[in-house]
Symmetry: C2
């Protein structure tokens, strides 16, 4: 069996992690494959400053990705540049040169996955992207192979480690978001500009990819209702616990009779749900299938080594397929074309809701709020107030019987006009037991 030759573009954290595994674990990889994976070429803008493990043998080094793709004998190009500009050029050029591609790029695959796949199928090459979602959790392999015989009806995920770290710290220590975020930034868990993580955009890209794989429909980030965690405060965890729940930034894709409802938003989940046991920067995905019922996958969502495992495992599979001839390829994106899983607006969903208020105390508050709800035929499940001293800033919670998101939003908009409210009500869906 001949060797399979790899070129890697981008030697940041993930690129270095990948090289390390390819070097250190080379013997076991070759035993599992029956042939060798060779690193033929590497590219980075700062190539001279990069350590290349010596055991890899002679490796062509360049700071120009075009020269890497032209390098003779490469079978697979690994794109670890990130972003959607140069990365797209690298991927497209590699496919045009009839190379297979392995990528960790969630943004690019969420935005242009279907087009990239079409191009690869035309060129007779392969694309693998396990590393683009949930780092060390092999969720692509699971959805595409492990449970491919099932018919997925719902997928829930905790897909952003930074926001999960922040939420579970708030939950455990009662510290406000700003304090935990500052600490996370100091420790390097959160970026200087945290918007991508805490406003849900990173999780949204990942959900777009996973729901495309799970349902076989074309799903873009714009199809996904997205709300971040900025409005949460430690008291929300106190109220949630009192209700037997916790709060997570939940990525959800659910098939309903009307269509597919997609959202990334903070949600109450029952403390008995296995998703509630996902703490700190871990990621997890819960899948419900028509036949296989529920399965759950958990692990490190990021980090050079867990993500490096995903890249190397992809390389092994793609290399095996290269040597076995060109198998039939069906795009993992948008292969259904049945329209069964067409995304529909989240406003059509029916859920119980948690509505948290901050008010200046005065008589008639509950009467005013319940009047608005009654006019919209929304039933009140419970009114909950934990002991609190400050009558000028008094929190309490109303939980609502199942109703449509549309009705709740209208009610919340009307409530926001009431002069005793210090801020608009915080509305979170309450997920049923998973």
């Amino acid at each position: 069996m001949r060797d399979v030759n790899i070129g890697i573009v981008g030697l940041g954290n993930i690129g270095s992690g990948t090289l390390k595994i390819l070097a250190e674990n080379a013997d076991q990889i070759a035993l599992k494959l029956g042939f060798h994976l060779r690193v033929g070429a590497v590219c980075d803008l700062l190539i001279d400053s990069k350590q290349i493990p010596e055991s890899l043998g002679p490796v062509f080094k360049t700071n120009d990705w075009r020269r890497l793709i032209e390098h003779p004998g490469l079978d697979i190009v690994v794109e670890l540049v990130g972003g959607t500009t140069v990365a797209a050029e690298v991927v497209n050029a590699a496919i045009a040169a009839k190379k297979s591609v392995v990528t960790a790029n969630k943004e690019l695959m969420a935005l242009s996955g279907p087009e990239i796949w079409e191009r690869a199928i035309q060129a007779g090459t392969n694309v693998a992207m396990e590393a683009s979602v949930a780092g060390g959790i092999p969720i692509h392999t699971v959805l595409r192979e492990g449970i491919s015989g099932d018919r997925v009806v719902a997928l829930y995920g905790i897909l952003n480690g930074t926001s999960n770290y922040i939420l579970t710290e708030m939950e455990q220590h009662g510290s406000p978001l700003e304090t935990v975020l500052a600490e996370a930034q100091r420790l390097g868990y959160a970026e200087a500009n945290p918007s991508n993580d805490i406003d849900g955009f990173d999780a949204r890209s990942k959900l777009a990819i996973l729901s495309a794989l799970a349902f076989g429909e074309k799903i873009t980030p714009g199809d996904i209702f997205t709300e971040g965690i900025r409005r949460l405060s430690p008291m929300d965890f106190q109220y949630a616990h009192r209700l037997g729940h916790t709060i997570r930034l939940l990525c959800a894709a659910r098939q309903t009779p009307e269509g597919l409802i997609l959202s990334v938003r903070p949600a109450l989940i029952p403390q008995t749900a296995i998703l509630a046991s996902v703490r700190s920067s871990y990621n997890a995905i819960w899948v419900r299938g028509t036949y296989g019922e529920d399965t759950f996958y958990y692990g490190r969502g990021a980090g050079p080594r867990p993500t490096g495992v995903a890249v190397v495992s992809d390389l092994m599979r793609v290399a095996r397929e290269i040597l076995s001839g060109s198998p039939t390829r069906v795009s993992p994106f948008a292969h259904q074309r049945l329209g069964q899983y067409k995304p529909i607006p989240v406003t059509l969903q029916t859920r119980s809701y948690y509505v948290r208020f901050r008010v200046r105390d005065q008589p008639g508050i509950i009467a005013a709020l319940s009047g608005i709800l009654a006019a919209k035929h929304i039933g009140i499940e419970a009114v909950l107030q934990l002991p609190h001293e400050n009558k000028l800033d008094l929190p309490f919670v109303i939980t609502l019987e199942p109703t449509t998101e549309e009705s709740v939003r209208q009610a919340a908009a009307e409530m926001s006009q009431l002069d005793f409210l210090l801020e608009p009500p915080l509305v979170l869906p309450m997920e049923p037991p998973l």
Copy 2:
């Protein structure tokens, strides 16, 4: 693309579940594959009494598995007979006839997996066995593809749903094992002869297969120290909880500097471990890799539909490979041949231990027990006694500082001679936080 044709031998629960999925989910399966899976032939001893879904079209039916294998045009034979006699004949005859094989047979693969694989490689056919372990959890796909780039150092599993159901019922309701077992038998969760489940033999076969896949060494059931759950009583859960732990029938395969330690036995695991959240008849596997750190997989361990998903997903992968030409095959069993992961006796392991006694109360008990421990240089961590009335049958627990299993066994044997003991001490390892 041509269709791929399947023959199924054995139409019991799993066979029927498999047929149902192949019939009902045929459109989605074809869209994912780009070609059709056809059921060409089915075989069962009671074939006339079996319902074959009409949408499958004409299907050759027989009660003689030899006639099924001779049936022209079949690409894949699915063995769902179970056991190690006829099933072995079916598998070997299918391979000899150059058919690929999909099987759900844990016993056969645990016992003869390496030989069956060798034969398949020689014949240029494929073997798939996702359904043999942990029903709906795609753990084979995960180990062989999803995290194939990693180097597994430890694997822990809850692999027998019946015993996990019994343990979690004992834990929740405080009922003795006999009562819960009788109820489980009444509900059809446990067999009339429960030995296979509660004595650990079923779990042992599964661990043999998973650890062979994870470590690439030849591992037979005989390499695995096995102890069932019969000696556990509700009070053990009370003591375990007091120690911040719970008790599960834990399948463990751990690489140590000396070799691989394999066991199926009741063990204390910290309540914070995600494995502690596995309740009722669910299965789960926790894997630690050198690079990817910890990942965790959870789902239904049995049932016709979850196991059917595993069979159908295997069929899809094998069918894809058949149409793409014959890829390189490396046996998932015993491919390492490095001797790095040679099984060694469990007596060499070092752990903290939980030792539970039942005694006739009298002065000098602790002195006698601690004397035996001291003579073996085993440190006592704590002595724990929950309130109890009956001085003629008094339970208490001693937890031991980390020591070798060898020493603990010798101490327990000496203690068993003491006349105030009502039964030999119950010795359970305490797993560190996972």
